[in-house]
């Protein structure tokens, strides 16, 4: 997030898109509900009638994957009606003329046709957001999990800069991270191209710094593979060994049959997990790790806040904390430089090598965490990014054209299938399916279908159906609900016995390689 979670309380207009906030980030979702009760305006741009939509002043149900057209059109209206923030644009940004040129070809009539909505909805959203004193954009995986996910994010950044809703409390471009510590994992360089704090592996200076600190030579300067690309490399036999920490890729990656073939092609697989999973069935070695309750350390939240997690119980059985397992493997592989005595000592190394974490220490985050960048011991942390300048100086408008998703419905597969999570399970459900009440609440794979479509197919609520795509076929219970629009199906991916990711495809965003979980073509038939 460019801003802080508490900024929700300060915004007077909040635009939420591609985020089922009350179900996936319930506390932030609650803040949004409370903000509306106190008078903030809420715009929800989401195909599904999510709980938050009941509180929205405008709920705009764009066709899945048409976000660029919709937001470009909002910007077209804003510029046409003179609602842009000219002062911000001239003082803080560049490439505005290019933006103007691109969005000019998205008048509401055209975008409305692409998005399956009315032109008036675009105009109203544009006016409401641009006229706000403090407008905040909140988004999540509904924006990013597309073959044009990067384009979607750029478009939202363009909208924030155009309206001057950046660099102040109650504004900003605010992605809600999909897992409790995915921010921390990225910050620590769990990406193929960076060390901690996003220091590039291609940067010889950064490499030199880490070589010196770790007492080694010749750290690779070559960018590695993203997980989605690595799976392709495994299937092609180019990648032969894999070490997975806490991820059930059989459940969470697109095109399960492809993932299965990839795992079978490996010569050696290590899985570090807290429970047996579909993925660990392929493992040559399983390393039992500790759960959140058994370990000490820090998690970094979606608002860049580094905060302590404390051990509540002793590790069960032979399990060990992830850091201990990693250090032991390094030691047995012949490297003696990872002999830390505690997570605190690991944090000391992190802060010494990571400028944005430089001022963080266990003493300072004993009670309340700190938000990076926090470069020095006396620094208070940074609740709002880009207050005076952007990282690169001026904010660069990056206008993009609308691209349709990779696979759209046709006569053979007439439905648009979107996937995601439900409230009561988390991700591959390896934890939540073991929780009695959560499992009781949603025990079976299900798929949402609109009442109109159900009627046409003669389907009743909770009737079993086969769902088929070009990748596979799974059985699920139909949930007949107006949460989804006619022509759209939504299926959560938590269930081994009806895995939505047996249906999805590995079509990737060309830049960041995120798969298009949110759109593919499907058909559905009664299972009798």
């Amino acid at each position: 997030m460019t801003n802080s979670i508490s900024c929700v309380d300060q915004a007077d207009c909040i635009l939420v898109t591609g985020s089922n906030t009350t179900e996936q980030h319930p506390l932030i979702g609650s803040r949004l509900i409370n903000a509306v009760a106190k008078g903030a305006k809420l715009i929800v741009v989401d195909n599904r009638k999510i709980r938050l939509a009941h509180h929205a002043h405008l709920h705009i149900r764009c066709r899945n994957g048409t976000d660029v057209a919709f937001f470009n059109s909002m910007m077209q209206v804003i510029i046409k009606e003179g609602l842009e923030d000219r002062e911000f644009i001239s003082a803080r940004t560049e490439n505005y003329e290019e933006l103007k040129k691109v969005v000019a070809s998205y008048p509401p009539e055209r975008a409305a046709q692409i998005a399956g909505i009315s032109p008036q909805e675009i105009i109203e959203a544009a006016r409401l957001f641009a006229r706000a004193q403090r407008g905040m954009i909140v988004y999540s995986m509904g924006i990013t999990q597309h073959t044009h996910g990067v384009d979607n994010v750029k478009t939202l950044a363009n909208l924030a800069m155009l309206t001057g809703h950046l660099g102040r409390p109650g504004t900003g471009v605010n992605p809600l991270r999909g897992q409790n510590n995915v921010q921390g994992a990225c910050d620590m360089g769990a990406l193929p191209d960076v060390y901690s704090g996003y220091q590039k592996v291609t940067d010889a200076f950064a490499r030199g710094k880490f070589e010196k600190a770790w007492g080694v030579e010749g750290l690779p300067g070559k960018v590695g593979l993203t997980t989605t690309v690595a799976i392709d490399a495994m299937a092609e036999g180019k990648l032969k060994g894999l070490y997975i920490l806490g991820e059930n890729i059989m459940m969470s990656h697109p095109d399960q049959n492809h993932v299965r073939r990839a795992l079978q092609s490996l010569e050696f697989l290590v899985v570090q997990e807290i429970f047996p999973t579909l993925t660990s069935e392929f493992a040559d070695v399983v390393l039992p790790a500790t759960s959140y309750a058994e370990k000490d350390g820090t998690f970094t939240s979606t608002e860049r806040r580094v905060q302590r997690v404390r051990q509540a119980i002793e590790p069960v059985g032979q399990s060990r904390a992830d850091w201990q397992i990693l250090c032991e493997i390094a030691r047995r592989a012949g490297y003696g430089g990872m002999s830390y005595s505690s997570p605190r000592q690991v944090m000391e190394e992190i802060t010494s090598l990571t400028p944005s974490y430089g001022g963080i220490s266990y003493e300072r985050i004993e009670k309340v965490g700190l938000q990076w960048p926090c470069p020095a011991p006396g620094h208070p942390g940074t609740p709002v990014l880009h207050e005076d300048r952007f990282s690169r100086g001026l904010g660069f408008f990056s206008p993009v054209e609308y691209q349709p998703p990779a696979e759209l419905p046709d006569t053979e597969y007439p439905f648009l299938l979107s996937t995601g999570r439900c409230y009561f399970h988390f991700h591959g459900a390896s934890m939540t399916k073991r929780s009695r009440l959560l499992q009781r609440e949603v025990p079976l794979p299900y798929i949402e279908i609109s009442p109109e479509d159900a009627k046409e197919l003669g389907l009743m609520d909770r009737e079993w159906v086969w769902v088929t795509t070009r990748r596979g076929e799974v059985k699920a219970q139909a949930r007949v609900t107006d949460v989804v629009r006619k022509g759209v199906l939504f299926m959560p991916f938590h269930f081994e016995e009806g895995s939505a990711n047996a249906l999805t495809h590995n079509a990737l965003d060309p830049e960041c390689k995120i798969p298009e979980y949110k759109v593919c073509a499907a058909r559905i038939r009664r299972a009798r």
Binding site: T22, P26, G29, S30, H54, K367, R436, L437, R440
Partner: protein, 346 residues
């Protein structure tokens, strides 16, 4: 424990006049009970919050108001084994080695405890509950030790001992034979020279507005004056986190299930929530409480309507926990206030 209300708390028991103890002396007093009791006391955690724990798990923290975790969970924990089966042998829950002594209930918590005592005793006696509850010593904390100087209502009974804070220490007031015995056995602190009158006056002067609102809301429900549209509106704010149920000391619903491990099976019971769809969904797939409107209505109606008919009283004692934890502000106090504002006095 019996609810033996002592009239006029002052110097009633001649052999053991009322004593006043500082926090430090109280810690020594609790330590002196440890050989005979399994103690649970309010302790401070490292992040600055307080919870119920054992002596030594954190600094004793009597001041700061009601604990967020309901103290009744000591007797009715979130989950517990009912029976286990392993190697051909059935195991039952073992009796406690020592009776419990629970310190830190508020006056309202003591009311809640009395209510669930009655609930678990009626019709059939719940052996799991009374396995822990029988012989337990209950210590209420009240007086001038709430959060930010708030005065905590004096219980005046419904516990074995009440610790009433007078600002620099606590009056130790026993109400039951066990309480009097424990208090008479200590020579910690000093005999209290002052009387309780002033503190009791202060307690009586506390606002009763919330109780009145609750009663008016209860009447509205019993007279069927709250339309369904109200519950639909409130339910839209509910995010189904179930915290209201999990923190409520008078919520007693539980789920029973068999936890299968490699070589054994344990029949467990765990707190359930009427805010979940699975709570009342039938095997057919039909749910008579299948909408959020109905479930939200049920949550409030049970405490303010159904329990009045069944037990003769409202089963919310205004402990304030659901209002503290509800992320969208629809705890029972807030909803009752809203109900009264809209539908009372028409």
């Amino acid at each position: 424990m019996q609810d033996t209300r002592i009239q006029g708390l002052r110097g009633k028991d001649k052999e053991s006049p009322m004593r006043t103890l500082t926090s430090v002396e109280l810690e020594a007093f609790f330590r002196s009970l440890e050989p005979d009791y399994d103690l649970r006391v309010p302790i401070a955690l490292r992040d600055g919050t307080r919870t119920l724990g054992r002596m030594g798990e954190g600094a004793l923290a009597l001041e700061g108001g009601p604990l967020l975790l309901k103290p009744t969970s000591v007797f009715f924990p979130q989950y517990e084994m009912q029976l286990g089966y392993e190697g051909g042998v059935v195991r039952m829950q073992a009796p406690l080695p020592k009776p419990l002594c629970v310190v830190g209930l508020s006056a309202q918590d003591a009311d809640c405890l009395s209510f669930i005592d009655e609930f678990f005793r009626s019709n059939y006696e719940d052996d799991l509950y009374f396995n822990k509850r029988n012989g337990a010593v209950i210590v209420v904390v009240s007086g001038r030790c709430g959060q930010d100087g708030e005065f905590l209502k004096i219980a005046n009974g419904k516990c074995d001992i009440e610790l009433i804070c007078h600002g620099t220490g606590f009056f130790m007031v026993p109400y039951t034979p066990t309480g009097r015995r424990l208090c008479s056995e200590t020579d910690l602190g000093r005999e209290a020279a002052d009387s309780l009158d002033l503190l009791k006056e202060e307690s009586s002067a506390l606002s009763t507005e919330e109780e009145e609102i609750l009663q008016r809301a209860s009447r509205l429900l019993l007279e069927d004056k709250v339309p369904e549209s109200f519950w639909t509106e409130i339910s839209k704010r509910c995010i189904a986190c179930t915290a209201c149920n999990l923190f409520c000391p008078t919520c007693t619903c539980f789920e029973v299930y068999d936890r299968r491990l490699q070589m054994k099976i344990e029949r467990q019971r765990l707190w359930d929530s009427c805010q979940l769809d699975g709570f009342t969904r039938e095997a057919s797939g039909h749910n008579p409480m299948g909408s959020e409107t109905l479930r939200t209505r049920r949550r409030i109606h049970h405490k303010l309507g159904a329990d009045v008919v069944r037990w003769g009283r409202i089963s919310c004692f205004l402990c304030g926990r659901c209002d503290r934890v509800c992320p969208t502000g629809i705890g029972i106090k807030a909803v009752s206030r809203e109900m009264v504002q809209r539908y009372d006095g028409r």
